[in-house]
C-alpha cells in the first residue's frame, strides 16, 4: 500500500464514523458522572488518562498486539486467538465491562464480515457457536491485521478510539463541551506516545488496575438511568 493509502486506511478504522457500537458504552463514566464523582473537564481528562495508563497500557494493548501477531500468521492462528479471547474473558471482572467488550468486539467483527475482510466470517461463526467470545481488543488486533494495518498503527488507532469513545460519552452526558473534548484529546497524545515507547507486558503478565471505574461499572448494572450499556 502507498503511504497515502495506509494513512487513509488508519483514518477509516480510527474514525468514529466506522460503525462498531462504540456510542453505546461509557465504561463507568455514566455512573461516576451521575453520582457527582466527575464534574468538570479536568476530571474527565484525568479519567481518560487513568483508563489509558491503568487499563489500556497493561491489558488491552498487550491483547491487541498478541491478536495482531496471531492474525498475521499465514491463515491466522485461530486457536491462539481463542486462547487470547479466553484470557480477556477470565480477567475482566465486572459483568458490564465483559459484556461491553464482547458486544463491541462482535459488532466490529460483524461489519468486517459484511465488508468481506478475510477470515472474519469463520471467526464470526465461532463466536455465534459459543466457541469463543470475540473481545474488543482481540477483534481489533485481528481485523486490523487482516486489513493490512501495521501493529504499531493498530495500537495508535485503538488508543485513539478509546479516548474518542470516552470523550464522546462525556460530551453527550453534558460533562464537557465540544472544544474541551478536542483540547483533552490533544492533551492525551503525549501519554499515549509515552505508553507506546515502552514494551507492552507479555500476555501472561497482563494487568489492569482501575478500581474506581470498575466498581462504577458494577453499580451501573442496577442504575435507574441507563443512557449507556455500561
Amino acid at each position: 500500500m502507498s503511504n497515502a493509502s495506509l494513512l487513509l486506511a488508519s483514518l477509516q478504522h480510527g474514525d468514529s464514523f466506522f460503525p462498531s457500537g462504540a456510542v453505546s458504552f461509557s465504561w463507568g463514566l455514566e455512573t461516576l458522572f451521575s453520582e457527582g464523582a466527575l464534574t468538570n473537564a479536568d476530571d474527565i481528562e484525568a479519567f481518560a488518562r487513568t483508563q489509558l495508563q491503568g487499563r489500556w497500557a497493561g491489558f488491552d494493548r498487550s491483547v491487541l498486539i498478541s491478536a495482531h501477531d496471531a492474525a498475521s500468521l499465514k491463515d491466522g492462528d485461530i486457536d491462539e486467538l481463542h486462547r487470547i479471547d479466553a484470557i480477556v474473558e477470565t480477567q475482566t471482572l465486572a459483568r458490564e465491562m465483559r459484556d461491553g467488550s464482547h458486544r463491541s468486539g462482535l459488532a466490529l467483527l460483524r461489519v468486517h464480515e459484511k465488508m468481506g475482510t478475510p477470515g472474519t466470517s469463520s471467526y464470526y461463526d465461532d463466536i455465534r457457536g459459543n466457541k469463543t467470545r470475540g473481545h474488543l481488543s482481540v477483534m481489533q488486533g485481528f481485523v486490523w491485521a487482516r486489513c493490512g494495518i501495521t501493529k504499531f498503527d493498530a495500537q495508535v488507532i485503538a488508543a485513539h478510539a478509546l479516548c474518542v469513545g470516552l470523550l464522546g460519552a462525556a460530551l453527550r452526558l453534558g460533562a464537557i463541551g465540544h472544544v474541551d473534548s478536542q483540547r483533552i484529546l490533544a492533551s492525551l497524545r503525549d501519554p499515549i506516545d509515552l505508553i507506546l515507547c515502552h514494551e507492552a507486558p507479555v500476555l501472561e503478565r497482563v494487568h489492569a488496575f482501575t478500581p474506581h471505574s470498575e466498581i462504577a461499572v458494577m453499580r451501573h448494572e442496577t442504575a435507574d438511568s441507563r443512557l449507556f450499556a455500561n
Partner: protein, 211 residues
C-alpha cells in the same frame, strides 16, 4: 403488488418503528403483537429506550409477549445513530433473538423517540414505519421530514385526540398524501386498536408476503 425491495434478512422479517417522543410507538407495538400472533405470526421486540428500560419493561410486564423475546439496547443518547449510522448493536440484538427463537416471524425494532429527520438504515430493517400523532400538530406532515416522506408506512396516531387539540385530520391526510405520493398511510387510535388491522394487512403483504 409485492414489494420490489430485495430483502437482505431472509427470516425473520425486521421491521423498524420510528417517530417523535410519545407519538405512540410502544402503544402501537402493544396492539400489533396480539393481532399478529392471532394470525400465527410470532413476534420479538428490540427497544431503544433513551434513558431507562421503561419501554422494554412495559412490554415484558404486559403479558402480551414472552419477556425473553424483548431486548433493550442502550444507544448512548444517540437514538438516530443506533438506527442509521451505527446500527450494529441493534443488528446484534435482532440476530440474538432470531437465533434463540427460530419460530419468530417478525422482529420489531422500536427506535428511541427522535425528531422528524430520523430514518432507518436498510442494513438494519427490511421495512419501517414512522409514527406521528395528531396532538403534535396538524402541520407535521407538511413539514416533510425524511421520516414522513421516506418511511414505508406512515402512521398518524391518536386520531381520537384530533378534535380535542384542534388538529384537522383531513388536512393531515391530504398533506401526507401529497408529500408521499402513493406510499401507504394509516390513521390509528392505538388506545382502542382502530386502524391496527390495516397495518397488519400492509405488513402481511409487503413484509411477510402472505398476500
Amino acid at each position: 403488488m409485492k414489494s420490489e425491495k430485495i430483502f437482505k434478512h431472509t427470516s425473520p422479517a425486521r421491521v423498524g418503528i420510528g417517530g417523535p417522543v410519545g407519538s405512540g410507538k410502544t402503544a402501537l407495538i402493544e396492539k400489533l403483537i396480539p393481532t399478529l400472533e392471532a394470525r400465527g405470526i410470532e413476534v420479538a421486540v428490540v427497544t431503544n429506550d433513551l434513558v431507562t428500560k421503561e419501554d422494554a419493561e412495559r412490554l415484558k410486564r404486559s403479558g402480551l409477549i414472552d419477556p425473553d423475546r424483548v431486548r433493550a439496547v442502550e444507544t448512548g443518547a444517540c437514538p438516530h445513530t443506533a438506527i442509521r449510522e451505527d446500527p450494529t448493536l441493534n443488528i446484534q440484538a435482532a440476530d440474538d433473538l432470531a437465533a434463540e427463537f427460530p419460530s419468530v416471524g417478525i422482529i420489531i425494532i422500536e427506535s428511541g423517540g427522535d425528531n422528524l429527520a430520523s430514518t432507518f438504515s436498510l442494513d438494519l430493517v427490511d421495512y419501517w414505519l414512522f409514527v406521528i400523532d395528531t396532538a403534535g400538530g396538524d402541520d407535521i406532515p407538511r413539514k416533510k421530514g425524511p421520516g414522513i416522506i421516506r418511511s414505508d408506512l406512515l402512521v398518524i396516531n391518536k386520531i381520537d385526540l384530533a378534535p380535542l387539540v384542534g388538529s384537522d385530520l383531513e388536512l393531515m391526510e391530504k398533506d401526507a398524501n401529497e408529500v408521499r405520493g402513493d406510499r401507504p398511510m394509516v390513521m390509528t387510535n392505538c388506545a382502542t386498536g382502530e386502524g391496527i388491522v390495516a397495518i397488519v394487512n400492509q405488513l402481511s403483504r409487503d413484509v411477510l408476503f402472505d398476500a
